[in-house]
């Protein structure tokens, strides 16, 4: 005799799902039935892991819109004037990529510290400070690039090519500033010893994405401007 009752999907309380992994019977609530918050942290990946992918997707769509606008605008008229990119952009690229490396070193060290109750947090923090410095250096470098273009008489409205240069680089820089805010947040949490692994991972993922996005933008600007 058939019955409509269905048992909940099996769960394994000892399995710790990886970030972004769906399931464990759907048991991913923040608070378990017995209100043991400590226990749920072990098994339930916080939504930050999913959220960062959502954020990155939205940013991707935004820059995809700008990119398609650039292609359409360039193809729709003959007023497009190419110009040479400021050389400092290549230096900035190296700085941003280097910051990704230092952040990855910090992330791995902090991850190791989180797994070892006797470790000290000062070591990894240094690498985070270096990342922060490199991030600020990148923003400063971008500002210098804008000044150099200005010195060459290329303003926002001078030509559609310069318009897109400023729009893309400023928008990217604003997102990098957001990443710097994330780094400051991580440092704050780390200093109070309340940093969670997923927060660190999400910040690192965002920062690496900013690096990848900049390389894409540089190639786009280099090939189209």
């Amino acid at each position: 005799m058939a019955s409509t009752v269905q048992e909940p999907p099996p769960t394994d309380p000892h399995r710790a799902p990886g970030s972004g992994q769906a399931g464990n019977g759907g048991w991913r609530n923040l608070v378990p039935p017995d209100n043991d918050r400590q226990a749920v942290l072990d098994y339930s990946p916080p939504p930050t892991s999913t959220a960062i992918w959502v954020v990155l997707f939205a940013i991707t769509m935004m820059f995809a819109a700008f990119t398609s606008a650039l292609f359409v605008r360039k193809g729709s008229s003959l007023d497009w004037q190419s110009f040479t990119l400021p050389p400092i952009l290549y230096f900035n690229t190296l700085v941003l990529l280097a910051s990704s490396i230092t952040l990855e070193v910090a992330r791995r060290r902090i991850a190791a510290v989180i797994g070892d109750l006797n470790s000290q947090v000062n070591g990894p923090a240094v690498w985070l400070y270096i990342t922060l410095f490199l991030g600020l250096l990148f923003i400063t470098g971008q500002y210098v690039a804008w000044l150099q273009l200005r010195g060459r008489g290329l303003y926002l409205a001078t030509n559609p090519s310069s318009s897109f240069f400023y729009v893309l680089t400023v928008t990217h820089a604003l997102h990098v500033l957001g990443g710097l805010g994330g780094l400051v947040y991580v440092l704050h949490k780390l200093s109070k010893s309340i940093l969670r692994r997923n927060q660190l991972d999400a910040t690192a993922r965002y920062w690496h994405f900013m690096g990848g996005l900049w390389v894409y933008l540089l190639l786009l600007l280099w090939s189209k401007l």
Binding site: G26, W27, R28, L41, F57
Partner: protein
């Protein structure tokens, strides 16, 4: 270092201060109510604007008392100028599409019920959730402020086509600061909805309670999840488009204004911009927006119909797949809004085909509803009546979509009232009926009191008949060649159609007045309605298994475990012909017993 693991940062304590409890609340239920209140306010504004437009269309030279107070230049002596008509039309469309059809079925109901339906105690990012509402509210204020500055709001329509949107004040009243405020408002709205989508997606994926697998989510939860995915993609494209328009205005760039453009005898300083670029960017958002408005309605109506039928749908899984197909296809059909834009004619074919294809999942959804109704023990109430009304509107408006999907026919009908009738029925009124259905269904859980059923049924019949009286004649007007967006039809062949416009105006005034019954019912029931039991509709999803209204953490410190699919009706259990999702009870279907 062990302290690093000792904090569940997302959880927040019950609020104690007035501000945190009622204004800047982090509670998803309060935020849901705030969104609903905003949508209600916006709907009233939008409705009043439509009344003003309709009066002007019926009696062009009539002075509307008090209108001159809103704009001395736009309505001298209370008589509307053609420009002011377009400004009101623009604001009506913008308010209704963004601040009513998007906020009410998605942000309002979704915020209140999605976390409860998945068994969570809140959204994972409550602060983002709060910011989402207040940014949306700020967007509304910015938009409305354009009524009170300079020469008033923009007159470019809710689509804000280029180059009119980028040329500045030379384009007409409101085309300077009015456009800038419109763009700022919509960019803010995009940010608010992106933050909302972030919460909806993570809530659905990460906060499901034990036993709540994806296929055990109620159809409403699926609808909100799919809608949030659409919103994430669409609003992330509209926002940069708005930024580019603002730059054309304030920075002198030339993204959207072509060279050698002369407006009002003035050569524009821009060069080489692409007017089609705006349309591509806008409609990449704009068509999915249609489904952002309607898919939550599909979920709400399905949910209510199943509860009223007391049996399962023919295939809930297929319904979910159809909603997903609508979402995906909505990005592939946007070019059908541009058949007359001057884009490559071959592109029209490419967009026409998926436009016809998208009718397949929509038709399947309707067929599932209709055939599921066969043989059901249907319970008639205000919510289920509006759900049935939704089907009627969706079908009536959808059928005219078949005509418009053909480029050759669309070229004839695109600039006429046929299109106005089509999108008002399939997107506007159908979505509104979904909102009404959801309100009558969930009000007991949201407010803890029942709404008046008699008033609800009167509201339904007046709205249902009134809506057809308003929008079906639009189709006839369109076929007769009545051009849309014109403020009057004084001395040409369209003059003979004015009596039809007058009839529509009377119908609109009566139907609009009928909404006051709903408003009275809503407010009166909120304070003096009969106290609602926990599960007045004998429904099965998780929101009906908790107290009415739900406690701060939704389940009173307990966390449910889910044992069943979301709609177990037509069974024999200890409580009746249904079994709650949270009940571990062994139940049998009538089929099993035989």
């Amino acid at each position: 270092m062990h302290d690093m693991l000792a904090h569940a940062a997302q959880h927040h304590a019950p609020p104690t201060s007035f501000l945190r409890k009622h204004v800047f609340s982090l509670d998803h239920k309060v935020i849901g109510k705030q969104y609903y209140a905003l949508a209600l306010l916006a709907a009233l504004c939008g409705m009043v604007l439509s009344w003003l437009m309709r009066i002007h269309l019926g009696w062009t030279n009539a002075a509307i008392p008090g209108l001159q107070l809103l704009s001395k230049t736009g309505a001298p002596g209370g008589v509307m100028t053609p420009e002011y008509y377009l400004q009101l039309m623009t604001m009506h469309g913008t308010i209704m599409v963004f601040f009513v059809l998007t906020t009410a079925p998605f942000a309002a109901f979704g915020n209140f019920f999605l976390p409860i339906q998945v068994g969570a105690e809140d959204m994972p990012f409550p602060r983002f959730n709060m910011m989402s509402f207040w940014i949306t509210f700020l967007a509304f204020l910015v938009l409305m402020s354009s009524f009170f500055i300079g020469d008033g709001p923009t007159l470019g329509g809710w689509t804000q086509y280029a180059p009119l949107n980028s040329v500045g004040a030379v384009g007409g009243p409101g085309e300077g600061m009015g456009v800038i405020l419109w763009m700022i408002s919509i960019a803010l709205f995009c940010i608010g909805q992106l933050l909302g989508s972030l919460n909806f997606i993570t809530t659905t994926l990460d906060l499901r309670v034990k036993g709540m697998s994806l296929m055990r989510l109620p159809l409403t939860a699926w609808a909100w999840f799919i809608t949030s995915c659409m919103g994430l993609t669409a609003f992330a494209v509209l926002m940069p488009a708005c930024i580019l328009v603002i730059l054309d205005h304030v920075a002198g760039t030339s993204f959207f204004v072509a060279s050698n453009l002369v407006i009002n005898d003035q050569l524009q300083p821009h060069s080489g911009g692409s007017t089609l670029l705006w349309q591509h960017l806008f409609w990449f958002f704009g068509h999915p927006e249609v489904y952002i408005a309607i898919v939550p309605g599909i979920g709400i109506v399905s949910h209510i119909l199943i509860t009223s039928m007391r049996k399962q749908m023919l295939s809930q899984r297929v319904l979910i797949y159809c909603m997903g197909a609508l979402a995906v296809l909505s990005y592939m059909v946007y070019g059908h809004h541009m058949f007359v834009s001057g884009m490559n004619p071959f592109s029209a074919l490419a967009f026409s085909f998926p436009t016809l294809v998208i009718t397949i999942p929509a038709t399947i959804v309707v067929l599932i509803w209709v055939f599921s109704l066969y043989g059901s023990n249907f319970r008639i109430n205000s919510a289920s009546l509006f759900a049935l009304g939704f089907i009627s509107m969706f079908v009536s408006g959808g059928v005219s979509g078949f005509f418009l999907a053909q480029p050759s026919i669309d070229i004839m009908l695109h600039g006429t009232y046929f299109v106005v009738g089509h999108f008002h029925m399939v997107m506007g009124v159908a979505a509104m009926f979904g909102i009404f259905a959801g309100t009558y269904f969930w009000f007991p859980k949201m407010a803890g009191r029942m709404m008046n059923e008699t008033l609800g049924k009167i509201h339904f019949w007046l709205s249902f008949v009134g809506t057809y009286c308003i929008f079906m004649p639009f189709h006839y007007l369109g076929m007769a060649g009545n051009i849309r967006r014109y403020s009057s039809f004084p001395d040409d062949y369209m003059q003979s159609l004015i009596p039809v416009h007058q009839y529509i105006t009377v119908a609109a005034l009566i139907t609009g007045a009928a909404q006051l019954i709903f408003l009275y019912n809503l407010i009166h029931s909120r304070f003096w309605g009969k106290p609602a039991p926990d599960n007045p509709w004998e429904a099965t999803s998780l929101e009906w298994s908790t107290a009415t209204p739900p406690p701060f953490d939704n389940f009173g410190g307990k966390h449910p475990v889910v044992y069943h699919d979301p709609f177990q009706y037509g069974v024999r259990s200890s409580v009746g012909d249904y079994v709650m999702q949270t009940s571990p009870e062994q139940v049998q279907t009538e089929h099993d017993e035989k």
